[in-house]
């Protein structure tokens, strides 16, 4: 959850390029709302409650959630205008997160490649 903090700047950069950041977890809306309010997030945080999206993206971590529920592997996936995946980072361990600066650099690099 902590990785969502500090991504506002990344969202701004993507917006500059016409896009946006979307955060996703398997949390129900009640808990997601807490995350959004607590961290004052300005981008949509989506609820994949029935886990179809994490399955479709192949990033299910089986039984790792509270009460043995399936949850998402921490992952960043950048998609271009044609819905093609152009960059991914999928965590190798539970503390492996990119810093906001690293994600921002990626978003900028993608933007400058387009120009």
């Amino acid at each position: 959850m902590s990785e969502l903090r500090g991504l506002g700047e990344v969202n701004d950069e993507l917006k500059r390029q016409g896009g946006r950041l979307l955060a996703i977890s398997t949390d129900p809306p009640v808990r997601t709302k807490k995350v959004v309010e607590k961290n004052r997030l300005e981008y949509p945080v989506l609820c994949d409650v029935d886990k179809t999206v994490i399955q479709a993206y192949g990033i299910v971590h089986e039984g790792a959630g509270p009460g043995g529920a399936d949850i998402a592997l921490p992952a960043n996936i950048l998609i271009d205008k044609n819905a093609e995946v152009v960059w991914t980072h999928i965590a190798s361990n539970i503390v492996d997160r990119l810093s906001p600066d690293e994600v921002l650099a990626q978003a900028k690099e993608f933007g400058s490649a387009l120009e």
């Binding site: 809306p29 949509p44 971590h61 921490p74 190798s92 810093s99 994600v103």
Partner: protein
């Protein structure tokens, strides 16, 4: 001055060995906290370098203390240090390891979806992606 110095030579130094052991123990306990503080630095996050340096130094100090003074108390500290360091290493490279080789790869078409946000508004990926680059950030959730 001279008397003190010669005294120090004659008597073993139970107190200073104890202090040495305690310093070692402190370093080992502090190691994981330093790791958490430095999580934003990529190399430290993935290798745990600062924590392992501190913990390694702590183990060495307490081992040195045991060499100087083999009391049970001091041996106990060394044992605790070794156990704590191994536990941290296991937590980092064993327990915390996530399944690898998964996930969508570059060049694939992102599966479309429609999900609700915390306010109940629906966001459609295809609708969103056609406007510009979209970054999906999957996180483990809040509990």
């Amino acid at each position: 001055m001279t008397t003190n110095e010669s005294n120090a030579h004659i008597h073993p130094q139970p107190k200073s060995s104890l202090v040495l052991g305690l310093v070692g123990l402190t370093l080992v306990v502090v190691g994981p906290f330093v790791y958490v503080l430095l999580l934003d630095v990529p190399i430290m996050r993935s290798t745990g370098l600062p924590a392992f340096l501190l913990m390694g130094l702590g183990v060495c100090l307490s081992a040195w203390a045991v060499l100087r003074d083999g009391r049970k108390k001091i041996k106990g500290m060394l044992a605790a240090n070794v156990v704590l360091t191994l536990t941290f290493a296991y937590a980092m490279f064993g327990y915390a390891q996530l399944p690898s080789g998964r996930g969508i790869v570059v060049g694939q078409i992102a599966p479309s979806f429609a999900l609700s946000d915390s306010q109940g508004r629906t966001v459609e990926l295809l609708d969103q992606a056609t406007r510009g680059p979209t970054l999906l950030v999957f996180y483990r959730g809040y509990w």
